[in-house]
């Protein structure tokens, strides 16, 4: 063996490259990034809790016109739930219908484009929805307020109608339009995952298209739809600007959703009162934010849990 050959040999020894160091550093870097997410969520909770604690326990003057934290936040919670309920009641049938339209009824070549149109709705900033809702939709919905009061006025939720249409009802409709795209997107996805085999089995038995949808598609998609609805609910609970801009607020407890005297939702209340807040009131608002965070967290948690459970059950 010549000298050149042996020197080449030592140069090409297997242990020659210390590549491990780069690998290890990189693995640490990406691991740290992933942990940031964890710490951020914990930090959100901790910071809100630290700053909000004072807001839950300060002197009764802070809560004017109420005297305690519970008294202050109670009307807000009722309002938040009412607005979200209206949004869900309106948005659920629409999102299921639109999702079915895109997944099973629309002509194939257009389906993707139609899905994109619905996604565009999700891209409209909430402040623009608020502007449109407050300036246009409210006016157009005013007759609907009158009608609801005249025909369903015996229900406590349809009391004295607002003269300009700026009510919790209108806010709920705006919320419905805002949460419809995400609910549609999720329902559409699960509808499209229906096993072809089930659909064809139904059709082969002589089912009409609707019967196929009813007996093959909807049962398969049930938990996906529930999960989508909960995600929509999470959005509705936390949406701020649209409500803040549509609603004229009064801090009283009322079930009347078409009147002028509804309290704000938790989120809208924060946005509306932030500017004039004293440090104590700031803490109070942060405390209400903490409540909102916990509630939406639980709702989202439940939604993901339902979705995850159905995914496991289907073995995907």
């Amino acid at each position: 063996m010549t000298t050149t050959a042996s020197s080449e040999r030592t140069e090409r020894r297997l242990e020659v490259r210390p590549s491990r160091r780069g690998d290890r550093a990189f693995a640490r870097l990406v691991g740290a990034a992933a942990l940031t997410i964890l710490f951020t969520l914990v930090a959100v909770f901790v910071f809100l809790a630290v700053q909000g604690w004072a807001g839950m326990t300060s002197g009764s003057a802070t809560y004017a016109p109420f005297t305690s934290f519970v008294g202050y936040i109670w009307p807000l919670i009722v309002s938040t739930l009412l607005a979200s309920a209206i949004a869900l009641v309106v948005a659920v049938p629409f999102s299921v219908g639109v999702a079915l339209f895109i997944s099973h009824y629309a002509p194939r070549p257009f389906a993707a484009a139609l899905a994109y149109v619905i996604d565009l709705l999700a891209a409209v900033p909430s402040v623009v929805f608020g502007l449109w809702g407050g300036r246009y939709l409210a006016t157009y919905l005013q007759p609907a307020h009158m009608w609801l009061h005249d025909h369903l006025g015996f229900l406590p939720i349809f009391g004295e109608p607002s003269p300009n249409g700026r009510s919790l009802f209108t806010a709920g409709i705006v919320l419905a339009i805002m949460i419809m795209p995400i609910m549609t997107a999720i329902s559409r996805e699960v509808f499209m995952q229906t096993p072809r085999l089930h659909e064809e089995a139904a059709l082969a038995l002589g089912a009409t298209r609707w019967e196929m949808v009813r007996y093959a598609v909807l049962p398969h998609a049930r938990s996906g739809m529930v999960s989508g609805m909960m995600l929509g609910l999470g959005r509705a609970l936390g949406e701020t600007m649209a409500v803040a801009m549509v609603l004229a607020t009064t801090p009283t407890v009322t079930l009347d959703v078409i009147g002028t005297a509804s309290p704000a939702t938790i989120a809208a209340n924060i946005a509306l009162n932030y500017k004039e807040a004293t440090p104590e009131r700031q803490s109070l608002l942060i405390a209400t934010g903490l409540v909102l965070f916990v509630v939406t967290f639980l709702v989202n948690f439940a939604a993901r849990w339902v979705a995850g459970r159905s995914a496991r059950r289907l073995g995907s």
Binding site: R12, R13, L14, E15, V16, R17, S19
Partner: protein, 259 residues
Amino acid sequence: MAKSIDVSDLHIYYGDFLAVEGVNLTVKSRSVTAFIGPSGCGKSTMLRSLNRMHEVIPGARVEGKIVVDGQSLYDPSVDPVAVRRQIGMVFQRPNPFPTMSIYDNVLAGSRLNARRLKRSEADAIVESSLRRANLWSEVKDRLGRPGMGLSGGQQQRLCIARAIAVEPEVLLMDEPCSALDPISTSAIEDLIHELKTEYTIVIVTHNMQQAARVSDDTAFFNLKAAGQPGRLVEFNPTRKMFSTPDEPSTEAYISGRFG
């Protein structure tokens, strides 16, 4: 520069599952060794263990010894990344890097390791690798075009050029022709013939005629029964294997009476 490979008493596991059991064989330098056998018998796993590629799959591990040129591949001090630089691999489906040109694909081994090359050096490597892969005349006018634009057979030869550009000692080929048409297949087989004067080649194939055409030695792997680990049934010169095999099950498999 080509090296021989000694495999002794090799067991390969995926987690607790024993995939390949008790393999002993020697791959001679500057020759073509074919691994044949039914699907799922562990021949691809075996091939991958030769350059530690199976470690990419989580839970995979190896017991036993593989020695290349006096160095044990599984010695704790050995870096798998360095092993792969010397024992190159060509895959079942051609997989040129889609973001790179033909030129950059050939140089990928150096470029990805951020090795600085002079322009003239790089040109020389690209030309000689493509020539050795019998692809130079077809692509020399469009080296800047994306590698994905070539035909399947050309892509596979590009992948071979990429593998030999890092000057490995050994070339492992995992069913390199199974995704190709007959004409491209014959081009690759010719290429294997030429490459064996410089490299030690191990090829996994499902195609018995191909094994007979290109290889000097053949190893036949089989499962004892369904769910059992794969094992080496017979290892002999190809000529003998295809005329008078030692084992009846080899003959059954080769002649198509499989089972």
